[in-house]
């Protein structure tokens, strides 16, 4: 539920309409395949609606206010959420975040940590930290090359290159579950 509320509030903060559809996507979680397909369309719609031409000039709060709730929504749909006192406190914090954007970002981040802490993660935390660090360091050190007029395509290519590197570094071979359709 936190994922949906965060997505809706995030949409309201950033002035986007697509996140307002997140409750519909969340409700489809009882059929995971349908949920994944709706989430697929939701993300593509978000990509069309929110435009960032240069990452170095972009408002980070806007980026986090859309991306973090999207991840939270995805995991809530796939894994499900448990309700408890902490969840209710986080929901209140996220609602307050509608007025104070910084509180919203912190609340969503805590919600994500709280949610994933139930997995008792070990290697996963390291992998996430390394991945984000790689991107951040890359963007910082590559600023001189990437931060130029009309450099958005170059930035996209750079981010995708980092993503491919992460895949090559950390992905192991698995058997995957088939879609039930």
């Amino acid at each position: 539920m936190i994922g949906v509320i965060a997505a809706v509030i995030g949409g309201l903060i950033t002035g986007l309409k697509t996140p307002l559809l997140s409750p519909v996507i969340y409700l489809s979680k009882f059929r995971k395949d349908l949920f994944l397909i709706l989430f697929f369309v939701y993300c593509l719609a978000l990509g069309y609606e929110l435009e960032i031409t240069n990452i170095y000039n972009a408002n980070l709060i806007t980026i986090f206010a859309v991306i973090l709730p999207s991840v939270s929504l995805l995991d809530a749909g796939l894994r499900g959420e448990s309700r408890g006192l902490v969840s209710y406190i986080l929901v209140v914090a996220i609602l307050i975040g509608w007025f104070v954007k910084e509180i919203f970002i912190i609340a969503v981040l805590i919600a994500l940590f709280y949610h994933f802490s139930k997995d008792y993660p070990k290697r996963g935390v390291f992998v996430v930290l390394v991945s984000i660090s790689l991107l951040t360091v890359g963007l910082v050190f590559g600023k001189s090359i990437l931060n130029m007029l009309g450099g958005s395509s170059t930035q996209v290519v750079f981010i995708s290159a980092i993503s491919i590197l992460i895949v090559l570094l950390f992905w192991r071979k698995f058997r995957k579950t088939e879609l039930a359709f």
């Binding site: 990509g47 960032i52 995708s160």
Partner: protein, 438 residues
């Protein structure tokens, strides 16, 4: 398509979208999805222990309990699905629905397996461990085999025989035993359950105020002879001897047919033992009772179990013994008891054979083939499977019985082409005859 591939495709399309539309946001969203998938892949490393327990002795078609002990060795919840992919052909498993195995939890799951007869080595099931988000799974195959022996179900054989025979028995008895119904009215009587409604005499019913039916005369030609086999094969057994059943059946038939001229011929492996000429007199039943002093062959006396000696003779030895045995018994020629029994029959009669068809099969078929043109014949045969002492059942005996049962089925089919043949069990006695005669 795999579920994860949807998300991978989404990430790819977002990168393309970002590149083509010169928008960094879709690329960042795609990056977050890739990181999310990387996290899930890193965290999914299930480890479980499993052990299956199942009885070594199972019964065909009867649900056997399979107990699977599972232990989650990780500190993550896992979704478990049991897949019985390695069961022998014909086996069916009623596996439980997917369930959650909590962190470090040990759980015993019980489910049913329906086996088919034979001796098999059963491999442990495939245990599919799925992550809670249902994106990935790993199959665990426990490297162990259990040898199980699946015995044929005696109850099933019995039930099948009984069901099939019960359906046919009454009609066959009526047709074969009492002859076909003629159109000539014998008498009028009160309606009884089971009477055909077409036989209701409506005028008499209206006159008397209760349902009256027409009783028709039945055609029956000549004498009736009950030809009872009292050979060694019929007298085998301790608790449920076939001869005990056959004598009871003979008496009941004789009593049921007391209105007709009934005779009895009892023969064994070597000749005719008793003969009661067909008669309609009142003393006839008593004569028949006196003739039926045949005892089963007991294998243990006074509770002392004698060692079971079994030896198999070669085909040549058996043929040789078959030739010389009548000579040893002081008899000449090749005529056995059955041939001697039927040699003195009148030219036309209704013959009811009660015999074990497996003892002298070829001879019986030959005799029946010769007699069927002149006589009306009914063959009643006690099924050895149904007469077997349950306390003596073991694996070998069951397999042997089942083999005999199958052979017997073929033989019954063959005999049925010649004459009406009924396969009977110990309880197919009073009810069937009563049902047919009433």
């Amino acid at each position: 398509m795999k579920r994860e591939e949807i998300l991978i495709l989404l990430a790819f399309l977002l990168f393309v979208q970002g590149y083509l539309l010169q928008n960094v946001f879709p690329a960042l969203l795609a990056f977050s999805i890739v990181v999310y998938l990387t996290y899930l892949r890193s965290e999914f490393s299930p480890k479980i222990e499993a052990e299956r327990r199942i009885d070594n002795k199972l019964i065909e078609g009867v649900r056997a309990r399979s107990r699977l002990r599972l232990r989650n060795l990780t500190n993550k919840k896992l979704k478990i699905t049991i897949l019985e992919d390695f069961l022998p052909p014909g086996f069916k498993a009623e596996t439980p629905p997917p369930f959650i195995l909590n962190e470090k939890e040990e759980k015993e799951v019980e489910y049913s397996i329906i086996p088919v007869k034979g001796v098999y080595k059963i491999k442990s099931p495939k245990i599919r461990v799925v992550d809670l988000r249902e994106l990935y799974h790993t199959d665990f195959i426990v490297d162990s085999e259990i040898e199980v022996a699946v015995y044929p179900s005696l109850d099933k054989i019995r039930d099948e025989v009984k069901t099939e025979e019960s359906l046919k028995l009454a009609t066959t008895y009526q047709k074969a035993l009492l002859g076909l119904q003629t159109m000539e009215i014998h008498s009028l009587r009160e309606f009884q359950p089971g009477d055909d409604i077409k036989h209701v005499e409506w005028k008499a019913t209206a006159r008397l105020g209760e349902l009256i039916v027409k009783d028709f005369l039945r055609e029956l030609e000549g004498d009736i002879y009950i030809i009872l086999d009292a050979g060694k094969e019929m007298r085998k057994g301790v608790r449920n001897s076939k001869i005990d059943y056959a004598t009871t059946l003979t008496l009941q038939l004789a009593y049921a047919l007391r209105k007709y001229r009934v005779g009895l011929i009892v023969y064994d492996d070597f000749g005719v033992k008793y003969r009661v000429e067909a008669s309609k007199s009142l003393e006839q039943i008593e004569k028949i009772v006196r003739s039926l002093k045949i005892s089963p062959i007991h294998s243990d006396l006074l509770g002392v179990k004698l060692p079971e000696i079994s030896f198999k003779l070669s085909e040549e030895s058996r043929k040789f013994l078959k030739k010389i045995l009548p000579v040893i018994k002081g008899r000449r020629g090749f005529a056995t008891g059955l041939i001697e029994a039927v040699s003195s029959l009148p030219s036309s009669a209704f013959l009811i054979f009660i015999s074990d068809i497996t003892a002298h099969t070829s001879e019986l078929i030959r005799v029946l083939s010769e007699l069927k043109n002149r006589h009306k014949i009914l063959l009643l045969t006690p099924n050895p499977v149904l007469f077997y002492d349950e306390s003596k059942l073991d694996r070998e005996t069951l397999l042997w019985l089942y083999k005999r049962y199958l052979e017997r089925e073929e033989l019954i089919k063959k005999l049925n082409k010649l004459v009406p043949t009924l396969d009977l069990g110990p309880s197919d006695l009073l009810d069937v005859i009563r049902g047919a005669l009433e």
